[in-house]
C-alpha cells in the first residue's frame, strides 16, 4: 500500500510542477497587465510605467518566476495586486463557499445519477429506461450557464422560492445558506447527473448479466434484494472513479456557476483575476484548483484500491 501511495504522490507532484509552470507561461504569453484595471484609456505611458513599477511588474519574467517558486515552497501564493492581500488568505476565505457549492452538487449528482442509472438498468429497454436516458442526454447537452439563468427566472423571479443569487454563510444562517446554495448546486449537478446515470446504467447492466446474479435469481431471491445487495455494490466500484472525475468537473464548473449566481467563491476570484490580469491570483488559483483536483483523485485511487484489491497489484 505504501508503494502504491508513493507512486501516486510522486505522480501528483510532477503534475503540480507542470501546472505551475504552465499557468505561469500562459499568463505571460497573453498581452495586457493589471494597470488596465486601475487606469483608464487616457492614462499616460508614464502613469502606466509608474504603476507597473509599484506593482512589481517591471521585473524580468525570470525574476518574477523565481520569486513565485520561492514563495510557494513556503506555502505563500503571493499577494493579490487588486485585492492588496495574500492570495492564500483570499482563497481560504472563499474556499468554504466553493466547497459547499461543489460538495452539495456532488451529493446531488451522485444520489440522483445513481438512482436514475439503477432505475434505467432495472427497466432496461422499457419506457422508464428511455425516459431516464433522454433526461440524461438533456442534462449532458444543456449549457450550465443557460440552465442557471432559466432556473433563476423560474424559481427566483417567477415563483420566488429562492434568491436570485448571492451567498449567505452556513455559520450565519443555515436556512439562508440553503436558500442561496441549492439552486446553483442543482444547476452544477444536472450535467453530471446525466453522466453518472449513464455510467451507473452501463455498470449495472454489466453486473446484472453476471453468473452470480443469475445464481441469486435461480436461488429465488427477491428482485429488489438482488439489485440492492448483489448488483448495486458491485456496480458502484467503477462509479467511484466516476465520482473523482465528477468532483473535478464540478470544481471547474463552479467557476461559471459562481459567476451566474454572483457567488463569491474561488472560481469568481480566478475569473476576476483573469479579467484584470491579477497574476498572483491566477497563478495561485490555478495551482490551488490543481491541488484540490489531485487530492480528490488521489483519494479516489486509494478508495478504489481499498474496494478492489486487484488495483494494488497493477
Amino acid at each position: 500500500m505504501s508503494r502504491f501511495l508513493a507512486k501516486r504522490l510522486a505522480g501528483a507532484f510532477v503534475v503540480l510542477v507542470l501546472v505551475s509552470l504552465m499557468s505561469f507561461a500562459i499568463i505571460w504569453l497573453v498581452p495586457g497587465d493589471p494597470t488596465a484595471a486601475f487606469l483608464d484609456t487616457s492614462a499616460t505611458p508614464e502613469q502606466v510605467a509608474r504603476l507597473r513599477q509599484e506593482l512589481g511588474l517591471d521585473k524580468p519574467i525570470a525574476m518574477q518566476m523565481i520569486d513565485w517558486y520561492a514563495r510557494i515552497i513556503q506555502g505563500d501564493l503571493g499577494r493579490s495586486i487588486l485585492l492588496n492581500r495574500s492570495v492564500t488568505a483570499a482563497i481560504i476565505e472563499r474556499l468554504p463557499v466553493t466547497l459547499s457549492l461543489a460538495g452539495l452538487a456532488l451529493v446531488f449528482a451522485l444520489v440522483m445519477g445513481v438512482l436514475a442509472g439503477v432505475v434505467a438498468a432495472v427497466h432496461h429497454n422499457r419506457w422508464p429506461d428511455q425516459v431516464v436516458m433522454t433526461l440524461a442526454l438533456f442534462g449532458l447537452s444543456v449549457p450550465d450557464f443557460w440552465l442557471g439563468i432559466m432556473l433563476i427566472l423560474l424559481f427566483a423571479v417567477k415563483l420566488g422560492f429562492f434568491p436570485t443569487g448571492g451567498y449567505v454563510p452556513f455559520t450565519e444562517d443555515p436556512i439562508g445558506w440553503a436558500g442561496t446554495i441549492i439552486m446553483p448546486a442543482l444547476t452544477l449537478a444536472i450535467i453530471q447527473v446525466g453522466f453518472v446515470a449513464r455510467m451507473t446504467r452501463a455498470s449495472m447492466l454489466e453486473i446484472l448479466n453476471q453468473d452470480f446474479i443469475r445464481t441469486a435469481d435461480a436461488k429465488g431471491l427477491k428482485r429488489a434484494e438482488i439489485m440492492l445487495r448483489h448488483g448495486l455494490p458491485n456496480a458502484l466500484i467503477p462509479i467511484l472513479t466516476v465520482g473523482g472525475i465528477v468532483a473535478g468537473a464540478l470544481l471547474g464548473g463552479a467557476v461559471i456557476i459562481e459567476q451566474v449566481f454572483s457567488i463569491p467563491g474561488v472560481g469568481r476570484l480566478i475569473i476576476g483575476g483573469i479579467l484584470s490580469r491579477d497574476y498572483p491570483v491566477i497563478q495561485g488559483g490555478l495551482l490551488f484548483l490543481a491541488v484540490i483536483y489531485l487530492t480528490v483523485n488521489l483519494a479516489v485511487d486509494i478508495l478504489y484500491a481499498v474496494a478492489d484489491p486487484r488495483v494494488r497489484l497493477e
Binding site: 495586457g32 493589471p34 488596465a36 486601475f38 492588496n84 472563499r94 433563476i152 443569487g165 476570484l269 475569473i271
Partner: protein, 513 residues
C-alpha cells in the same frame, strides 16, 4: 364666481395638505438600497484608481476641495472659496470649518495638505497636480497652493472625479496606496467590503453639509441622505442582474442593455432613465503604422464612414449624432470645425484613398469584447470594404487590447468610448492626444494648442483654442468621433427623486414605503 372661488380655495388647500403630508411621509429617513453594478472596484482608495466602478462608490464616501456642479463646472466643496493671485500662480483655499470625518475628527488644513501631497505621489492621475510647486498650510483652516506656471485648468483638475483628489484624514494620507482605512467626509460612511460580493455604505449622521448649497447640484451641492444603507452588489452577469432586479432584491440597475430597458419600460413597477450623453464612441488611428500614418488614408476613412449607421447599430435607442468633441451644454461646446463629421461619401473617400499610399494590404482593427465596440468595428470593416480597404478584426478582452493599443505595432484601428474626458472639459479631451499618447505619433499642433489652453486664463481665447483643436481633429482625421452614446439605468418606481448623473448619486433620494 363665488362657487368657483370656494372650490378652488378648497382644492388648493387640499393640494397643499396632500403635498405637505405626502412630502413629509415620503422623505422619512430609512430604507436599504441595493444597486447592481457590473464589476467590483479595483480599490476603494479613491486617489489611486480611475476606474469607473470605484468612483461610483467612492464619491459617495469622499469629498474634494472643489467638485463639479450639474454642468460639470468646478464649485467649492470642502473649500469655502478660493483666492487666486494676480499672476495666477497662487491659490489660497479657506477650508470649511466644522466638517467632520467619519471617525469624528474635524477636518483642518493639515488633512488637506497631506491628501494633496499623497495624490502627487500615488494618485492615479497625478498629472492633474503636475503644475503644483508646493502645498502649504498657511493657517489652521487655510491651504495655499503655489503653481510652477500658470495653469488655467487647475480648478478643473482639482475637482476632477476621474481619480478624485479625495481629502483623507492626515494619518490615513500618510499611508501607502491601497492601505488606508476608508474614512472621508462624505454623506455616506464605509461599512464593509466583501470581495467578489458587495460594498456596503451607510448614512453618515454626522455629515456637515455645505452651508452655501441649496439643492442637489452635480457632485457638489446639498447632500441630504434619506437612505439608511446602500449596497453595491457586484454582478457581472447581465441575466443575474436583471433577475435580481425583477425579483426585488435590487432597486437600481446601474446599467441595463437596450432590450431589457425596453421590456422593463412597459412595466409600471419600474422607471427607465437615460444617461445621455455618457460617452463618445471614438475610432482611433495608429499614426505610427502605415497606412494610417498617411493623412490622405485617414481622411478617406473619415469621408467613407456613415456615423449614423455605426451609432444606430452599436447603441440602438441611446445615441446622439454629434460631431463636437464636448458634450452639449458644456461651457466650451461648439459645432464649429466639425463640418467633416459624418460625411458618408464613398466617392470622396475613393478619391482620397487614391491619393494615399494604401495598396490593399490587410489592416488590423483591435477591439475589446464589449458588444458595442465589436459592432462598431464590424460596421467600419464592412463600410471600408466598399472602398477597397481590407480590414481584419482582432477581438480580445480589455486588458489585452489596451496593452496592444498603446504600442506602435500590431494595429491600425481601435474603437472604444471616452466618457469622463468630455465631462471634465476641453483640456481632458485634448490630453489623450498630447505627446502622441493615443495616436502613437507626436502631433506638434495638438501639443502646442494644449499648452496654450493650459496657460491662457482668458476664457474667450481658450474657447478659440478649443475650436482650433476640434478643426485640427477633423482636418487631419487624427481620430474619428462616431457620436455620443448613453446608458440605460433602471430603478424601482419606489425610488423617488432620483436624477441620473454620471455617478449614481444616492443622496437626495428615498425609497417609498
Amino acid at each position: 364666481m363665488k362657487r368657483w372661488f370656494d372650490f378652488s380655495t378648497a382644492a388648493l388647500g387640499a393640494a397643499v395638505l396632500l403635498t405637505a403630508s405626502g412630502g413629509a411621509f415620503a422623505q422619512t429617513k430609512g430604507g436599504d438600497m441595493v444597486i447592481a453594478i457590473t464589476q467590483a472596484p479595483p480599490s476603494l482608495d479613491a486617489q489611486v484608481t480611475s476606474a469607473q466602478a470605484a468612483r461610483n462608490i467612492t464619491l459617495q464616501i469622499y469629498e474634494t476641495l472643489y467638485a463639479r456642479d450639474e454642468n460639470a463646472k468646478p464649485v467649492p466643496e470642502l473649500s469655502e472659496d478660493v483666492k487666486i493671485s494676480e499672476d495666477g500662480k497662487t491659490y489660497v483655499f479657506p477650508i470649511r470649518k466644522g466638517v467632520k470625518f467619519h471617525n469624528g475628527k474635524e477636518l483642518d488644513a493639515k488633512d488637506v495638505v497631506a491628501s494633496l501631497e499623497r495624490y502627487r505621489k500615488v494618485g492615479a492621475s497625478a498629472a492633474l497636480l503636475s503644475a503644483v510647486d508646493k502645498v502649504t498650510e498657511t493657517g489652521p483652516y487655510e491651504v495655499t497652493v503655489t503653481l510652477k506656471d500658470v495653469q488655467s485648468t487647475f480648478l478643473d483638475n482639482l475637482s476632477s472625479p476621474r481619480a478624485p483628489i479625495a481629502i483623507y484624514p492626515a494619518e490615513e494620507a500618510a499611508k501607502p496606496a491601497n492601505q488606508i482605512n476608508i474614512i472621508g467626509t462624505g454623506p455616506f460612511r464605509f461599512v464593509e467590503y466583501k470581495p467578489d460580493s458587495h460594498v456596503k455604505i451607510a448614512r453618515f449622521d454626522g455629515y456637515v453639509p455645505n452651508p452655501k448649497a441649496t439643492g442637489r447640484d452635480g457632485l457638489a451641492g446639498k447632500k441630504e441622505v434619506f437612505l439608511d444603507t446602500v449596497t453595491f452588489r457586484f454582478m457581472p452577469e447581465a441575466g443575474a442582474r436583471n433577475a435580481a432586479f425583477e425579483a426585488g432584491e435590487v432597486q437600481l440597475l446601474e446599467t441595463a442593455e437596450g432590450p431589457t430597458a425596453k421590456r422593463l419600460e412597459a412595466d409600471k413597477r419600474y422607471v427607465v432613465y437615460k444617461v445621455l450623453p455618457f460617452a463618445f464612441q471614438v475610432i482611433k488611428f495608429n499614426h505610427a503604422q502605415p497606412p494610417t500614418n498617411d493623412v490622405n488614408f485617414r481622411l478617406a476613412v473619415q469621408a467613407a464612414l456613415d456615423m449614423e449607421e455605426i451609432m444606430a447599430i452599436s447603441y440602438p435607442d441611446i445615441s446622439q449624432m454629434d460631431g463636437a468633441w464636448l458634450y452639449p451644454g458644456a461651457p466650451f461646446y461648439t459645432k464649429t470645425g466639425t463640418e467633416k463629421y459624418n460625411q458618408a461619401d464613398l466617392n470622396a473617400a475613393k478619391a482620397l484613398l487614391a491619393k494615399s499610399g494604401y495598396k490593399g494590404e490587410k489592416l488590423t482593427f483591435i477591439v475589446d469584447n464589449l458588444r458595442a465596440n465589436t459592432d462598431t468595428a464590424t460596421v467600419v470593416q464592412q463600410r471600408l470594404k466598399d472602398i477597397g480597404v481590407n480590414v481584419e478584426l482582432s477581438v480580445a478582452d480589455w486588458p489585452t487590447v489596451s496593452k496592444i493599443g498603446f504600442t506602435p505595432n500590431g494595429w491600425q484601428f481601435w474603437a472604444h468610448g471616452y466618457g469622463i474626458e468630455p465631462y471634465e472639459g476641453p483640456a481632458s479631451v485634448m490630453a489623450p492626444w498630447v505627446n502622441g499618447t493615443s495616436q502613437l505619433k507626436k502631433d506638434d499642433k495638438i501639443d502646442s494648442l494644449y499648452a496654450t489652453l493650459n496657460t491662457t486664463m482668458d476664457e474667450g481665447k481658450r474657447k478659440d483654442v478649443f475650436v482650433e483643436f476640434q478643426k485640427h481633429m477633423y482636418d487631419n482625421a487624427v481620430a474619428m468621433k462616431a457620436g455620443n452614446y448613453g446608458l440605460f439605468q433602471v430603478a424601482t418606481a419606489k425610488l423617488k427623486n432620483f436624477k441620473p448623473y454620471r455617478i449614481p448619486r444616492m443622496w437626495g433620494v428615498w425609497l417609498e414605503k
